[in-house]
């Protein structure tokens, strides 16, 4: 009987000590810098501003570009985990905004290829490391992947519990001729994300971003 009580007390203590689910949020924004998308940077900036206004202390944010080979730390433009104290967190947001503004001002020519899968793999890695409770990958791109010769990306990716949202998916010239290309492109990414264990969404009208990230 005594042993039973001891075991019960021990298991209760262990259950109480169980690490609680983190309530922090982490967002990884992939910016397509290929071709015509360099001209869409003002929209990207407004998305980043929205994210900075929405995220709170303890949340993480990273902005990375999609170029010919995106599975690289070098493609991360800026990343930050906001401090516990709101005042410090506000200062960090100002610094972050300044970093992004500098990057956008210095952006000239776009990259030749578009490696979205590599960027998503990099995003998944970063988000896992943050240990956040809610994880988001936002893709600011037309979702048309154009890989450099020799790069291998046709394998299943892992995006467990990550919300992937494609933003401002512009229609290509060929989409206007045959809209099925556009639909297929979206379906392909939805399938890949679903298979990777994530959830998929698309927001083309940036005015509707209000509910993109769950408010606390």
């Amino acid at each position: 009987m005594k042993k039973f009580i001891l075991i019960a007390a021990l298991s209760l203590t262990l259950a109480a000590c169980d690490e609680p689910q983190s309530k922090a949020r982490a967002v990884y924004l992939l910016l397509d810098t290929s071709g015509t998308y360099t001209r869409e940077m003002d929209k990207a900036q407004s998305i980043i501003n929205y994210l900075l206004a929405t995220l709170d202390s303890g949340d993480s944010i990273a902005i990375a570009r999609i170029d010919s080979g995106s599975f690289s730390e070098k493609d991360i433009i800026a990343r930050m985990t906001f401090d516990d104290r709101p005042s410090t967190s506000n200062q960090q947001k100002r610094q972050f905004k300044a970093q992004i503004d500098t990057f956008v001002d210095g952006l000239r020519g776009g990259s030749r290829h578009t490696d979205i899968t590599g960027g998503m793999l990099q995003a998944s890695e970063y988000l896992r490391e943050t240990g956040a409770g809610e994880k988001y990958v936002l893709i600011f791109s037309d979702l048309e992947e154009d890989l450099q010769k020799g790069h291998i990306r046709d394998f299943p990716i892992s995006l467990p519990d990550i919300h992937v949202v494609a933003l401002n998916v512009t229609k290509l010239r060929s989409d206007n001729i045959d809209p099925r290309d556009y639909m297929e492109r979206l379906d392909l990414w939805k399938r890949r994300v679903d298979e990777a264990g994530g959830s998929w969404g698309v927001i083309n009208d940036l005015e509707r971003m209000d509910h993109l990230i769950a408010q606390r």
């Binding site: 609680p20 929205y50 206004a53 303890g58 516990d84 104290r85 709101p86």
Partner: protein, 483 residues
């Protein structure tokens, strides 16, 4: 399944149902007596059980009523004792403050009266008597002049002397009258002083008289409580209910005050303890803010307890005065420190809100407007609120005490009403069960009315045959008797 059972006798559902009905009625007819006794005994059992339950509830109700009465009377007795004690304290204060100076006042009044008496004696009007020789001189002066110039001159001199003497006397009289008037004038402030002193004494005596009337009233109520008077019990119960509603209302107001207080300090608290850690589903900063508010309320409770305004903790109430005073100082200091912390947190909240607003504006690409001219007013308002609210919350101990005391009475009354209703329901259920069992017996007989009717017909014919047989026997017997 049902259809299969229904059509077991025939493929025609109607016929089969009729056969089933016949069997059912027949079986019911056969089982009539045991079924009747079963139904009646069940009804009786339910009735008896319900009656027993209702009786036990009545006992419980009586004991609860007694307990409620005791609680109400105890509360009333306590309140009366406190009121009488307070009145005696007031009487003591009046006696100490005013009547302790009474010997001095009495001396003052006596002195004043003595002085007035002396002045009165001094101011008595004594008319000056004319000199005794004046009559003789007057007689000589009034001798008719015979024409002798010397005699006339002498008589004139005597006459003028006489007039001079009159004038001197009149002058002296006027002088003394003036002196008397002065004395009487000097007496006026003495009278006034005497009047004031007496008015003061009257005031004190009137105050004591009022206090004594109040004490008499409280003593009458106290005696009524001691005598277990029904009227006073009813009065105290209704007073408890009133107290309950009033204190509930004030507590609701206090809860809203607490919420506002929480809103003031929750956000800046994240600057102190961080805004990302959680304890369960709540942020640590929110819990810290709540803890501060709770500590303030607790300090308020202890402060009012030490001041003997409330009587929730007998340990504090029974402390010696020096310890109590020390506790007053400590609790008040903690309360003041917490209020200051809250005021600074409220100011920090305002700063944070401003900073956040500026950041949002800059992120939205808006030009940051210059600081508004009267921006300091809400900042100051928040700080004052942060400082005042803890003290306001400290007073929550008073309605809390009333609420707790009146809650005992209210719970008793509610429980009494519930038990009473339950007893009524039990009695209703018991009676209904008994009536239902009788109704079921009748319904049972209605179901088997056909075989019952046949039975009655058969038994009727047998009885009539028996009667005829009996009458034939009687006729034969009479015939035999006659023969």
């Amino acid at each position: 399944m049902f259809n299969e059972i229904l059509t077991i006798w025939s493929d025609q559902a109607g016929l089969s149902a009729a056969i089933w009905l016949f069997i059912l009625v027949f079986v019911a007819y056969l089982a009539r007596n045991p079924a009747h006794s079963l139904i009646l005994s069940t009804g009786h059992a339910i009735h008896a059980a319900c009656r027993l339950f209702a009786r036990s509830l009545r006992h419980l109700e009586t004991s609860l009523q007694r307990r409620n009465r005791e609680v109400v009377l105890a509360l009333g007795e306590d309140a009366c004792e406190r009121a009488i004690e307070r009145e005696f304290h007031r009487v003591n204060a009046v006696v100490t403050r005013d009547l302790s100076a009474y010997p001095a006042l009495h001396r003052q009044i006596s002195d004043t009266i003595d002085r007035i008496e002396e002045d009165y004696q001094a101011a008595s009007d004594v008319p000056p008597l004319p000199p005794e020789w004046l009559q003789a001189v007057d007689s000589i002066a009034s001798i008719p002049r015979s024409g002798d110039a010397t005699v006339c001159s002498i008589l004139d001199n005597i006459g003028s002397t006489l007039e001079n003497a009159h004038r001197e006397t009149e002058k002296a009289y006027r002088k003394t009258t003036l002196g008397r008037h002065k004395l009487l004038g000097a007496m006026q402030p003495q009278w006034r002083k005497l009047g004031h002193s007496l008015a003061r004494v009257k005031e004190t005596i009137d105050g004591l008289d009022e206090r004594s009337l109040e004490i008499d009233r409280q003593m009458a109520a106290y005696e009524a409580i001691r005598n277990n008077d029904d009227t006073i019990t009813r009065t105290l119960s209704s007073s408890s209910l009133t107290q309950f509603f009033i204190s509930s209302l004030v507590l609701v107001i206090a809860v809203f005050g607490g919420l506002i207080n929480f809103q003031l300090i929750a956000m800046p608290m994240s600057e102190m303890v961080g805004g990302t850690s959680y304890i369960g589903p709540m942020r640590t900063s929110d819990i810290a803010a709540l803890v501060i508010i709770m500590v303030e309320i607790a300090m308020g409770l202890f402060l009012l307890e030490s001041l003997r305004i409330t009587h929730l903790f007998p340990v504090i109430g029974s402390m010696d005065d020096s310890m109590r005073k020390r506790m007053i100082v400590i609790t008040f200091s903690i309360l003041a420190i917490l209020a200051t912390v809250e005021a600074s947190l409220a100011y920090m909240r305002d700063l944070l809100a401003l900073d956040r607003e500026a950041l949002t504006q800059s992120l939205a690409g808006n030009v940051i407007v210059a600081e508004a001219e009267f921006r300091w007013i809400p900042s100051l308002g928040q700080m004052i609120m942060g400082f005042i609210l803890p003290f306001a919350l400290a007073f929550v101990a008073i309605p809390l005490e009333s609420f707790i005391h009146s809650l005992r009475t209210v719970i008793g009354i509610v429980a009494l009403a519930l038990i009473h209703s339950l007893a009524f329901l039990a009695r209703l259920l018991g009676g209904s069960a008994r009536q239902a069992s009788r109704m079921l017996v009748s319904m049972y007989d209605l179901l088997i009315m056909l075989p019952l009717g046949i039975e009655r017909l058969i038994s009727g014919s047998i009885k009539s045959k028996q009667r005829i047989g009996d009458s034939d026997d009687a006729v034969e017997y009479l015939m035999e008797e006659k023969s």
